[in-house]
Subunit: 184 residues, 4 copies
C-alpha cells in the first residue's frame, strides 16, 4: 500500500484545489490512498506558542511522517504561495533540516480561475519544499486553468483533466516509494 | 508629516525583525512616524469568512490605506516569506488589482539569526509586493545578519547597524511621498 | 523629450517580444521615443575579458545611462529569464551597486506563444532589476498570450493588445521622468 | 562506474565555482568520475541559428545525455543565475519537455566572494532545472561563503569545506544512479 497525504492551499469549502485532491483520491490506482489533511485549524506560526495550542501541529507532523508521499494543491495568491498553506508548512518544518519533510517525496499541483494555472505559486512552492529537503516530483506537471468550468460537486468533471490527473497520480505513486532516502 | 506603517513578519515577542522596526521608529527623521501594526490577530485567509471575523482585516486595510508608505521587516522561513506575514498581505490584497497596496511605496528589510540576512525571503516578498502593484523601494537594502548579537531590549544596539537603519529610514521617508501615483 | 531604451530578450528575427517593442515605438505619445538596442553582439559574460571585446558592452552601458527609462520585453525560457538577456544585464551591471541601472525607471513586458504570457520570467526579471537597484514600474502589466495570432509583419496587429500597449507606454513614459532619484 | 558531468556558471579562469568542481573530481569516491564540460564556446541562444554554429551545442547535449548525473556550480550575478550558464541550459533544453535534462539527477552548488553563498542563484537555478524536468538533489546543500580565503591553485584548500564537499559528492553519486526514471 502507498499512502499519500494531501494538503490544499485553499480553505474555501468550494475550492478548486481541494477538488483536484478529491479527484486524485478517486483516480488513484489500486493500493494507493490519498487522504486530505486539514490545515485550517492551525494557529498562526509563532515560536512562542506551546502546549495545547500545538495539538493540530503535532497531528499534521504525524500525518506527514506516516505518509509515503505528499501531494500539495495550491492556488496562487498575489503571485505566491497562499499564507495559510505556508503557515502549515512553516509549523511542520521544525526542527529545521531535521523535520518530517526531509527526503519526503512531494508533488505539487495547482488550479486557477483564470489562465495562469497557479504556475508562479507552484514554482515558489517547489523552492520552499527543496529548502525543507523534500524530494520534488518533476513531472507530469498539473496546472489547471479556468478551473471553474472543469469542476462540479467538488470533483473535476472535465474528461481531459481527469485523464491527466489519473496519469499524474499513477506516475507519482510509482515514483514516491522508489526514490532513494537522503543520506543523513 | 510622513506616516509609515510597519509590519513585522515574526509574531515572537523577542523578534529581531520587530526590533528593527522599533529602531526605525527611534531613528526616523523629524516629521516621520513609524507605527507597528499587529498581524497576529488575523484569521487564516479564507474567502468564505465574513462578518465580525473580518474586523482585524478591516483595521489592517484602513491602516495601510492611511499610510504614506509601508515598511515590512521579514525573517526567512524555509527560504521564503513567513506564513503569517503572507496571510496578512493576502487579506489586505483584496479586491485584487484594486487593493490598498496599489501604488503604495513599500520598503522591505530583513534580519536573520545566521549569515543570510533573510535575502531569499526579501526577494520573494518584493515579487509579491510588485504583484499587488505596490511601488518597491530599491535601495538602501537592509539585510541584518547574526542579529542575535546586534539587538538588546527590543532595539538594535549595534552602532553600524543603527547608522545603516538611520540612512534607510531617512532615504525611504524622502522617497515615499515623492513617488508618482500609478495612473488608474 | 523622454527617451526610452528597449531591450528584447529574444534574438530571433521574428521574435514576438521584439514586435512588442516595435509596436511601443509606434504607439508612444508625442515627445516619447522608444529605441531598440541590440544585445546579440555581446560576448558571454567573463570578467577576464578586456579591450576591444568590450566595445559592445560600453555601447550598451552608454545607451542605458543616456535613457530616461528602460523597457525590457522578455520571453520565458525554462521558466526563467533567457540566457542572452541575463548576459546583457550582467555585463551592464558592473560595477555592482554603482552601475547604470541604479535608480533607472524600468518596465518589464512579456509575450509567449502559449497561454503563460511569460509571467514567471517577468517576475524573476523584476527581482533581478531590483537587485541592480533599478526602479521597477508596477502597472499596467503586459503579458501577451498566444502571441502568434496577434502579430504580423513584426508589429502587434490585435486591436485589444495594441490598445493595452498604448496605455502601457503612455503610463510608463509619464511615470519614468517623475520617479525620484535614489539618494546616494 | 558513475559519470558526473560538471558545469561551471563562471567563465573566469580563476573562478571559485570552477574550483569547487575540480575539487569534487579529486574527492569523488572510487568508481565516480567528475568531468567539467566547457560552456564558453556556445553562441548566444538564438533559434534562428543552424549548421556549424551549433556544433558546441550538440557536444554539450551529448555529454549531458551520456552522464549519470549533473553537478552545476554557480556564482550569483545580480541575485540570479549568470547569463552564460542560463544560455548553456537554454541551448541544451531543446526540444522542450523532451530534452536531455528530463529525469536527469542534478545537484546544484554555489560559492561567493562575500557572505551569501550564492543562495538566491541556487534557488532560482533549482526552479529552472525542475522546469526542464530534471530531478533535483535536495541535500547536502553546498553554499561556500568568503570563497577567496578557502581556495588556492584552483582547488578548495579549506579543510572543513573539503570535508563537506567529500560528503556531498559521496551522497550525490550514490543518489543519482538510484533515482527512478520519470514515466514517459
Amino acid at each position: 500500500m502507498t499512502h499519500l497525504l494531501a494538503l490544499s492551499g485553499s480553505l474555501r469549502a468550494a475550492s478548486s484545489n481541494t477538488a483536484l485532491l478529491a479527484t486524485l483520491a478517486e483516480l488513484a490506482p489500486p493500493g494507493v490512498t490519498v487522504t486530505l489533511h486539514p490545515i485550517g485549524d492551525l494557529p498562526l506560526y509563532n515560536d512562542d506558542l506551546s502546549g495545547d495550542a500545538l495539538a493540530p501541529v503535532e497531528r499534521l507532523k504525524a500525518a506527514i511522517a506516516a505518509a509515503d508521499g505528499l501531494v500539495i494543491a495550491t492556488p496562487e495568491y498575489n503571485y505566491g504561495v497562499p499564507g495559510p498553506l505556508k503557515n502549515a508548512l512553516d509549523w511542520a518544518s521544525r526542527p529545521g533540516y531535521r523535520s518530517v519533510f526531509v527526503g519526503k517525496p512531494t508533488a505539487i499541483l495547482g488550479a486557477s480561475a483564470g489562465g495562469s494555472g497557479a504556475v508562479r505559486a507552484q514554482g515558489q512552492l517547489k523552492q520552499v519544499m527543496l529548502g525543507m529537503l523534500a524530494q520534488v516530483f518533476p513531472w507530469p506537471e498539473v496546472a489547471v486553468t479556468h478551473a471553474g468550468g472543469k469542476i462540479s460537486d467538488g470533483r473535476v468533471s472535465d474528461a481531459a483533466t481527469r485523464e491527466h490527473l489519473a496519469r499524474f497520480v499513477t506516475a507519482f505513486s510509482a515514483w514516491a516509494p522508489a526514490v532513494p532516502p537522503l543520506a543523513r
